[in-house]
Amino acid sequence: MSTPAIVIAACCVITAAIKAVGPVALGGRELPTWFTSVVILLSPALLAALVATQAFANGDHLAIDADTAGVAAGGLAIWRTGSIIACVVLAAAVTAGVRAL
């Protein structure tokens, strides 16, 4: 099987299981507090790492380039306007603009 096929099949099974476990098995019982606490903090940890690696990494070295500028502009847009559309459109436009220079 190709890498994409393996990734898709595994993600499908795992995601379905994650979403089914709560409603079926727990039936209203609460999850342990330590678990919820870690899961809540997984989002900021993962998102920050994804933003950092995609904005600053080119393969195995760190670099500040067009997409760094684009992502920064997108961040500024969402901070000022709260709009995710403005954020992604501006990020793409700034990146394309800097690249075209």
Partner: protein, 217 residues
């Protein structure tokens, strides 16, 4: 609308990462989890293996465990029906259908998810099929759309000081590992920053907010 743009760019970037048209659309149709799909595709695009891509997607989707557990008691029907309804839990519709007293409107949840699903799969289809005709997606800055979207989600997560600290720690871990670890691994190791949640203080705050949610307003 934002969902449509993201779905389009997902279709285009999945093709760039080596997914076929069909694979890109099937991914959206059977997984239906934007940030997990983005995370795994970007790891594959960076040259990471299937294992790292799957692990990142699983961590990203782990939030659905407490979310769907919270909705569970609001679902009617037997175990199979409840398992099927659990599949409709996605961030936006989950938040929308919350009544604020710990219960959820299951019809609103399923309805909102159905609309989001159509947009997501349709947008991926359009992006995967017609993305090629655009030429080089990098000249349109499409590669900045994923990280910018993640940045937007991240800024919404940074309400507490603890979340900001965890984000800073995750960033530092990832950047230090980029030059020395294989692609995909920096993101996975950075997720360990969430273990800050095991501290007594962090757990006490979760308990407090749960009690606040359970109380009638």
């Amino acid at each position: 609308m934002a969902g449509g743009i993201l779905a389009l760019s997902f279709g285009i970037l999945a093709r760039e990462a080596g997914f076929s048209n069909v694979e890109a659309v099937v991914f959206s149709a059977i997984v239906f989890a934007g940030s997990a799909q983005f995370a795994s595709v970007s790891i594959v695009a960076a040259g990471g293996g299937a294992g790292a891509a799957i692990a990142a997607a699983t961590l990203m989707n782990s939030r659905f465990l407490p979310m769907s557990a919270a909705v569970g008691p609001s679902f009617k029907g037997g175990p199979l029906k409840r398992a099927a309804k659990g599949q409709t839990v996605v961030d936006a519709s989950w938040a929308l259908s919350s009544r604020g007293d710990g219960t959820f409107d299951e019809h609103l949840l399923i309805g909102a998810s159905a609309i989001a699903y159509t947009t997501w799969v349709g947008g991926t289809l359009v992006g995967a099929i017609w993305g090629d005709k655009l030429g080089d997606p990098n000249s349109f800055g499409l590669d900045a759309i994923f990280p910018a979207f993640f940045f937007g989600l991240l800024l919404n997560e940074l309400r507490s000081r603890r979340a900001r600290g965890v984000a800073a720690l995750g960033t530092a871990i990832a950047l230090v590992l980029v030059p020395i670890a294989p692609p995909g691994v920096p993101v996975l190791v950075a997720s360990l920053a969430s273990l800050v949640g095991l501290t007594k203080q962090a757990r006490a705050e979760v308990l407090e907010s749960e009690e606040a949610e359970g109380a009638p307003r």
